[in-house]
Symmetry: C2
Subunit: 335 residues, 2 copies
């Protein structure tokens, strides 16, 4: 970093990124970015901060994947509102001794995720720090006015669903933390699990289908595990959710890897987090049309429970015909 300096780095990074589409009126290089959104839309904004040694470790993720994931987690928040991601600003606090190549790799990953999700980097800030590497991403998207999908809309009688499969990211992390992970997982399983952890694919298309269908009543993304996300919906909506453990969709790779490790894969789905699938509630009449619509788009959606007719806000887990209170056990800083 000392060799090329702040401005040399900005030039090197800007060269890796596209210049944006018509929605980018003023991109990188002035006091602020100017962006345009569709008529009749509202703006959706989310922000995430990642600290080396807290949120990521160099031995479990490459810099390129880190670039991918650091934007993907914010894209997932926009997806969880039913929105469309559009523009990102990225700030970095960089240890002075850091090699420029690491940052170029990081931005190559940022360019990858931007390409996959038609998102454009329109600004940022680069500063030095005496501490660990810090990445701060703010992502701005759009959604039809008044139609954002909130956590607070679940009503008695609704069904609880999740998109895709869950538990893969926690399985991938478990795998990465093993000294010799390849011993216990088949090559194909390993690929699935590592991608689930290192380069998760946020569910923007699924969020759009859910919003457009009109059947979805509440939505959240699976960043801290199903237990935590379902409790958030229950609390914000003031309802009791019933989650059927046996219905939770687990990928075959997760099942196989869990068996080889002697672990319970449902634990990963409930408490692992970082799957970045969408969990929410819908009106019962939405099941058939949404299942068909998802299948048509090479996506999947699974009913995993329901909103109870009564009861204090919270989540009941039903498993092997046994009921228990499902408490959140997500990652808590300063805990």
């Amino acid at each position: 970093m000392r060799e090329i300096g702040e401005f040399g780095l900005i030039d090197a990074i800007t060269g890796l990124l596209d210049q944006g589409d018509d929605s980018v009126v003023v991109g990188i290089g002035d006091d602020a970015a100017v962006t345009a959104y569709s008529k009749g839309s509202q703006v959706v904004t989310t922000t995430d901060m990642l600290v080396e040694g807290v949120h990521f470790r160099r031995d479990t993720i490459s810099d390129r994947s880190l670039g991918y994931k650091s934007l993907a987690v914010s894209i997932s928040d926009i997806a969880a509102m039913g929105g469309i991601p559009k523009h990102a600003v990225i700030s970095l606090a960089i240890p002075v001794e850091m090699e420029v190549e690491r940052l170029q790799d990081l931005y190559a990953g940022v360019a990858d995720v931007c390409r996959d999700y038609q998102t454009h980097v329109v600004g940022g800030d680069i500063v030095k720090t005496s501490g660990p590497f810090v990445i701060s991403v703010t992502l701005i998207g759009e959604v039809e006015a008044g139609r954002a999908l909130l956590r607070s809309g679940a009503r008695p009688g609704d069904l609880l669903f999740v998109t895709g499969t869950v538990g893969g990211s926690a399985a991938g992390l478990d795998c990465l933390l093993q000294a010799e992970p390849r011993v216990e997982a088949a090559e194909e399983d390993l690929r699935h699990l590592l991608q689930a952890h290192q380069e998760p694919r946020p569910q923007v298309s699924a969020g759009r289908l859910l919003l457009e269908s009109g059947f979805c009543t509440s939505l959240n993304d699976v960043s801290d595990g199903l237990a935590s996300e379902c409790n958030e919906i229950a609390e914000k909506s003031g309802v009791r959710l019933v989650l059927e453990g046996e219905s939770v969709p687990l990928h075959e790779s997760v099942r196989r890897y869990a068996a080889s490790r002697g672990q319970d894969p449902l634990e990963w789905a409930l408490f692992g987090g970082e799957d970045y699938q969408l969990v929410g509630t819908m009106k019962p009449e939405g099941v058939a049309p949404l299942t068909a619509l998802f299948a048509k788009n090479a996506l999947s959606i699974t009913v995993i429970g329901r909103v109870d007719e009564a009861g204090t806000p919270g989540v009941t887990l039903v498993r092997n015909a046994q009921k228990q209170e499902l408490k959140p056990r997500g990652f808590n800083h300063f805990g």
Copy 2:
């Protein structure tokens, strides 16, 4: 922090902030914020990251002033586009041993600046770090479509101007770094200089007057000192600027304090930075109407030079009838 945890802190902070106006459709507490902007407007976005020990030191700024200033610097970027600040997201990386009271003071300052500039905090992220305290602010505003004031619009024949007075922030910092600053400055001067450094007032109203007048051709805010900002305008516009040193408006407090310290106050104005006034160019016919308009709004604007008819992009400083090339000497990380 260990005692109240992440969620306790979020509750404590949220209580300090207002709930926003009609433009805040969904505020703190869901996956993302949803905000609405005026019809026919575009969105203006800026982001700044501040690191303890790099951008601020506890012995020169209180936590409350730090909260004020951390948002003020971003508000200034929106002002420099002629925009109106609206919504902020704030992320903090917090050392585990930090006292919660410091963060409450910080957010009291954030609430102050939000009140002064009708800006609302709509989200954020709070994480822990093993390193120094990091504050990341992203500020979103609006501007009439196609009318944002850029750095690139200066044309030969335009006049160079600055709003208010400059040099006060650097004088204030010089003051703070003295063992006994009160010895050398009168009470009233001291108050002016310290406020200039610790709680700068971004020039949103001035930016709006400049945009609405139609006379302003380029605009920048004074974050790194006049030398650096003028060079940015010169480079982006592809023009040569002539800056008349004697015309640069210095506050009486700055002149008096500089005299008592045996320093050249123009050096502070040119290279000190953090004044958060606006510098830019305008059509010559704008001088009389803008001067009157600013005076009517209890603001000031001063012509400090012009855009040359020819010459390579850069800035010529004229002082005591001597010409010299004015190079930027702003703060450069990793330099």
